[in-house]
């Protein structure tokens, strides 16, 4: 099993390695999730299902299945 954003614990940082899911990749890229970009899991949504992610310059929200398609390297 590869490590993905979904495996991050709150407060943990990581670098993006690559994308598993072909379809979602375009969308992820335009949101600034590029290889080597740094991500931090800030918190999880009140009713679950979504993650609050901090990037270098901006904040984004994504679903758990979207997070599972981004492979990372823990820092």
């Amino acid at each position: 099993m590869k490590t993905t954003i979904l495996d991050l614990k709150v407060g943990q940082n990581a670098l993006i390695r690559q994308f598993v899911d072909f379809e979602a990749t375009c969308k992820l890229l335009t949101m600034g999730l590029l290889p080597n970009a740094r991500v931090e899991l800030v918190r999880k949504a009140p009713f679950g299902g979504a993650l609050y992610i901090k990037m270098q310059n901006h904040l984004i929200a994504m679903r758990e299945n979207e997070a599972a398609s981004v492979e990372i390297e823990l820092l």
Binding site: K27, L29, A45, A50, N57, H58, R63
Partner: protein
Amino acid sequence: MKTLRVALIGNPNAGKSSIFNLLTGLRQKTANFPGVTVEKKTGTLSLSGTEIRITDLPGTYSLFPNSKDEKLVCQVLCNPENETYPDLVVYVTDTNQLERHLLLATQIIDLGIPVIIVLNMMDVFAENGHRLDSHALCQFLGVPVVGMNARSGEGVDKLKFEIGRFLEEGSDRFLRNEPIYTFTEVENAASQSVSSLLPETQPYRAKLLAHHHKWMDFLPVRFSATLTPHLQNVGFEDIKTQIQETMRRFAIIQNGLRGVVESAAARDQKFSVALDGFLTHRIMGPVVFFGLMFIIFQSIFWLAEYPMGWIETGFSYLGSHARNLLPESWLTDLLVDGLLAGLSGVLVFAPQIAILFFFLALLEESGYMSRVVYMFDHVMQKFGLNGRSMVSLISSGACAIPAIMSTRTIGSWKERLITIMVAPLIPCSARIPVYTVLIALMVPAQLSYGPFNMQGLVFMALYLLGIIASLFVAAILKWMIKSDERSYLMLELPSYKKPIWSNVGLEVWDKLLAFVTNAGKVIVLISLGLWFLASYGPGNNIELAAQKVAETSASQNISDEELAISIQSARLEASYAGQLGKWMEPAIAPLGFDWKIGIALVTSFAAREVFVGTMATIYSIGGDAEESSVRNRMAAELRQGTNQPMYTTATSMSLLIFYAFALQCMSTLAVTRKETNSWKWPAIQFVVMTGMAYLGSWLTFHVLS
């Protein structure tokens, strides 16, 4: 005189609308792009004798679109024949996120369209200790760069100056000599395949057409079918090439920005992240949200009460003066009972609508709305909806029409469709006056439980009923509509900002104007038509009916006033409107309604708010449409042929339930038709909601009576 077409383009949250407002002020209007209901904001600016027409295009991340909005921008930029195709693009970026925002900019530059780059939010950028060499950036991009701060209006003169230079010196300075992005072999072959079929197509535009030929509707017939084998021959793969291009563009941008931007340690997110620790907290997040909604909807009633009173007083003053000044004639009746009553019925909502849109604009401008989407996405998915549906459903509390239009940001067709279908079940502001009148009939004003006013509680219960009904229907639709399409959340959470008040003001003004003109036209027409139908009847039926009442009551001992009322009632019954009501009475009698309510049901099909005006017209032609007096007359009404009051709790409640569910709004049907591009969905929406209304009313009436 030639007009110059300028398009404002940029990523969402770049501050495009603020710059649009700065350039055009009140010289703007909102229309729809032909054939689609994507909002098109255009405005004008006059520079050295030339009229410049500015279009504010929807926020877009790239020319590889993911939503209806983004597809539209792509259509406009890929088709020089399009009426919105710009002579010049003003590309707005958030300087704090330059790298990401330049992706689309480089695509537009490569399309060979003249571009001015605006570096917006320079103030925050500088505050955070970042630095930027705009001369070097200009060299890298090959087009003019203007630093701005839309919040204070700083830099708008420089932008106007650059537009002026475009007018005087032509497009050369605004075009890059060679493309920023160079094609791979496959891309080159794909671009040439398109050019071979469509001669003189600009190379990058040709490449975009190779990606998007399946849905670009301006292309010649059978173009797509002819092109597809060509593309297969050269080994062109749509998605794979999109990913490659995006990554390579980002690499070029990162490289180009080296030495141009000097970033200090990032600290601008700190405030937003900290505030979100509270606002999106596991427990406090939802509590704050529901609290906010409660406060907003309460304050709408509380704040709107006074201006609504002024409008009503103003109109009844106007009406009585018109009566005094004008000679007594049918024209005066038409003017006062038809036109003025109708107008007052519309304008009286203006304060409530303005206040609601004010709060919505505030939530949107501050950045809070995105947090709501994020928090509730998971819950909404259980009902077949998307987190973005929250924005639509909340707006539906004001009006279903902008709510349905706002669903275009939802990428998945199924989620979007379900949102459209259930949005009209959320109680909109047009139901407020109907509820107000009927609740007042049913519940005494002084009745309260502790600090809670009973009328207010019934009101809240009806709102809850609407919300529960919409989620219930959504869940059923989720189960019925099958779709393999993927849905995404992927959402930017913009940093919290103080709202720009002129933006909020213009937004409210825009929505208010649209409401008054659109709803106004319908309501005025209906009230004129209704006045005619209620005042005239077939042949001389009306006169005969009036005579008969006068003769039969001559033998009885009744006062002049009572006689006048019964004559009036007999006249109404004999009129066209009365005939119509009588005709449908058998169908609605099981719900506890009589023919007078029947007339109101028919007229409110155009719009619910017509109900109060109709009641006013029916219960007394010649009265004013003030709600309390309508209520008094309704309270005094007896069920025909009995001594029982017409509006018992059972009848009033049954009518309330009917108005809670029935789709009595032509504009909603029209907008659903446009957004779903078929008659099927508005038809289903209408049948299901009317069915719910009928069944609900029937049950209510029988349980209560």
